[in-house]
């Protein structure tokens, strides 16, 4: 059932067994788990079915640390949440991503990868990312045998791509048709009502931007609003707990992590197609796949580095006979005589072999890349070491609902730079050893202590810097992290907020580590796991 807070009677009181705040990947997945059960579910969404500027403006905030994109552009505040801007890449976290690594100061997850595996398998069809196969053997089925870099302690990790599934579109009808689920649109959480000790959440106060308000009462409450909004709400929405819910140890908002990536070098391939055929994106089983290299787990332990990964990017194509033929064909298709006919004809005649190969690759081999790349990019993705000083706080400004805006103070560390530099240099060395090509890295890597990543040279922002340009992934991770002990985390292993009896958090804010896997598949898996837990407990306090 679909409702709009603006259409309800003023001051209405709503009741449900399970109240989920936030209709993104986590919230929608959790709600779907209860469709057809005996439990009443209320799914509260700030926005409407489509985005609007006023609601989106609620996501505005300050950036005080490393440069970041405007916070309101980094999320989508309407039904479907950030899946409305999701690229679709899916991959489970690696085993080492969940491990405790005291040498690196990394608190692991309160469970191992075996615990998540069945939930990943259930999550895979929800995100529609093809078969749940993420082994190197599956990759090799479509690209053929790949180089064995195990002697260099490198392994291949890879992604599959969802179309992408827009959760707000794909799953709207299922929720609308469910008689025990109510989706309430244009409803913003403004207050979490607890008892005097803050342990039991009695209800929520919600308001629309148009001024309508309502009270929600429930047995169990889940915040599923994303890695910036979840901590903001915990910090400011509970008047009985001014220091914030789950924040007895000042951990709410800390350990913010992203997946920044850099174009860190150039490969001059010895054979134009080998690397792109073996290691660049391609389509298999109807799904785009992509791969990257990373140190094996034991090598990461030996070197004391995190799980950063290195992949390939394209750097443009050679300007040769194929380019001339392509331009000529394009002109002819649009009814034009190709210009510079003489030059184009000579270029074509001089590259007959290349043109033939290109046609063969495109129409017979169905290769995605059918023009020889001039150069290839070497891209590195960071697996950030959790840093307590990298955090989300409440800012001084207030939003249209009178609530404090979020303030992002994002930081990286020298350990992050070291982890990336080592894996990049190892991959580059292996490509050289195998004769795949020469690699030239960004000059900034010549100085290991130069702070090239911490410079935060965000691409497109005109930051005057010698550091390589950084791009972000809009992944907001770790700000209400899981830990068995409240002195180490905000939620426990079942995602229940420490110090509360019936308040839970869903989404990437609960991840203790980021890995390099895009978070959506793990978000959905954890939401399924939380759903199972809540069904088992029956919302008992």
């Amino acid at each position: 059932m679909l409702e709009d807070l603006n259409s309800l009677d003023p001051g209405q009181q709503l009741e449900a067994d399970l109240v989920i705040v936030g209709a993104g990947a986590a919230g929608i997945t959790l709600a779907l788990e209860f469709v057809g059960t005996a439990h009443r579910v209320l799914l509260v969404e700030s926005g409407s079915l489509d985005g609007d500027a006023d609601t989106q403006a609620l996501d505005q905030g300050d950036v005080v640390g490393m440069a970041y994109e405007p916070l309101e552009s980094a999320r989508a505040r309407y039904f479907g949440g950030s899946t409305n801007m999701w690229t679709g890449w899916c991959r489970p976290l690696d085993s080492i991503d969940l491990q405790s690594r005291p040498g690196l100061g990394i608190l692991g997850w309160p469970f191992g990868s075996g615990e998540l595996e069945p939930f990943y398998r259930r999550a895979q069809p929800i995100v529609d990312a093809g078969p749940y196969r993420y082994s190197a053997a599956y990759w090799a089925e479509s690209v053929g045998p790949v180089d064995d870099l195990s002697a260099a302690a490198l392994g291949l990790t890879f992604w599959q791509k969802s179309p992408p599934v827009r959760f707000g579109t794909r799953y709207l009808e299922a929720l609308r048709a469910a008689t025990n689920v109510t989706v309430l649109l244009n409803a913003n959480l403004t207050s979490i009502v607890t008892g005097s000790d803050g342990a039991v959440v009695d209800g929520l106060e919600i308001r629309s931007l148009a001024g309508k308000s309502a009270t929600v009462r429930g047995r169990c409450f889940v915040l599923a609003c994303g890695g910036l909004e979840n901590p903001r709400l915990l910090l400011c929405a509970a008047p009985e707990r001014p220091q914030g819910l789950g924040n007895e140890h000042d951990l709410v908002g800390r350990f913010f992590m992203e997946h920044p990536h850099w174009d860190i070098g150039t490969i001059y391939p010895s054979e134009p197609y080998y690397l792109v055929d073996k290691y660049y994106r391609h389509v298999s089983d109807g799904r785009m796949q992509s791969a990257a290299w990373a140190f094996t787990g034991p090598e990461q332990e030996r070197l004391g580095v995190s799980n950063c990964c290195v992949g390939l990017g394209l750097h443009g194509y050679r300007d040769d006979g194929i380019a001339a033929a392509a331009k000529a064909w394009h002109d002819l298709r649009h009814g034009r005589i190709p210009d510079e006919i003489a030059d184009r004809t000579l270029a074509i005649l001089g590259d007959i072999g290349g043109i033939s190969e290109s046609i063969w690759r495109k129409f017979w081999l169905h290769r995605r890349i059918n023009r020889p790349p001039e150069q290839l990019k070497l891209l590195v993705v960071l697996d950030a070491k959790p840093n307590p000083d990298s955090r989300v706080r409440l800012g001084p400004e207030r939003d249209a609902l009178g609530m404090p805006r979020v303030q992002l103070d994002w930081r990286l560390s020298a350990d992050d730079e070291r982890s990336m530099a080592l894996v990049v240099q190892r991959v580059a060395g292996e490509l050289t050893r195998l004769g795949d090509g020469r690699v030239r890295l960004h000059p900034a890597l010549q100085d290991p202590s130069g702070g090239w990543a911490r410079a935060g040279n965000l691409a497109g922002h005109g930051i005057a810097s010698q550091a390589p340009e950084m791009e972000i992934s809009w992944h907001h991770i770790g700000t209400t992290r899981m830990a068995a002990s409240p002195s180490a985390g905000v939620v426990d292993g079942n995602c229940r907020v420490h110090g509360t009896a019936n308040l839970y958090v869903a989404g990437s804010s609960v991840f203790p580590t980021a890995g390099t896997a895009n978070p959506t598949l793990t978000i959905v898996a954890l939401a399924l796991r939380l759903g199972d837990h809540l069904k088992q407990t029956g919302f008992a306090i």
Binding site: A328, I348, I352, G353, W360, T432, R433, G435
Partner: protein, 123 residues
């Protein structure tokens, strides 16, 4: 030239070289370090630039050690010397012993050899 003639010409062009194209595809791509090494040591301006860059940071004892390793390979001709350097470089790459010289990822022995060649050219 009329459009249809050009289209026909282009069509024939794509048909005619299928045999040529298949020969291209039949080629085994050259993928070995020796050919990469050959490229970098055949260009004297590259040798000079990289050799002098590495000289600025190299440990002299290490250079002397590399000279001794080369001498132990007993090369008597330029081709043998080049092969010996490539062999040392392959050993270093297998040990992940690489250095950055002007951003280029080189085996340490490669970089040292370039430095030695640069010294020899200067004197």
């Amino acid at each position: 030239m009329e459009r249809r003639y050009f289209r026909s010409f282009l069509f024939l062009l794509t048909l005619f070289p299928l045999s040529v194209g298949r020969q291209v595809l039949a080629k085994v791509p050259q993928r070995d370090f020796a050919s990469l090494f050959g490229e970098v040591t055949s260009d004297y301006s590259t040798i000079d630039r990289l050799g002098s860059a590495y000289l600025a940071v190299v440990d002299e004892h290490r250079l002397a050690a590399t000279l001794r390793r080369l001498r132990d390979k007993t090369p008597t001709r330029i081709a043998e010397l080049r092969a010996a350097i490539a062999e040392l470089a392959q050993e270093d790459l297998a040990r992940h012993d690489t250095v950055l010289v002007d951003g280029w990822v080189l085996a340490r022995a490669e970089a040292e050899a370039l430095a030695l060649i640069h010294i020899a050219k200067r004197s």
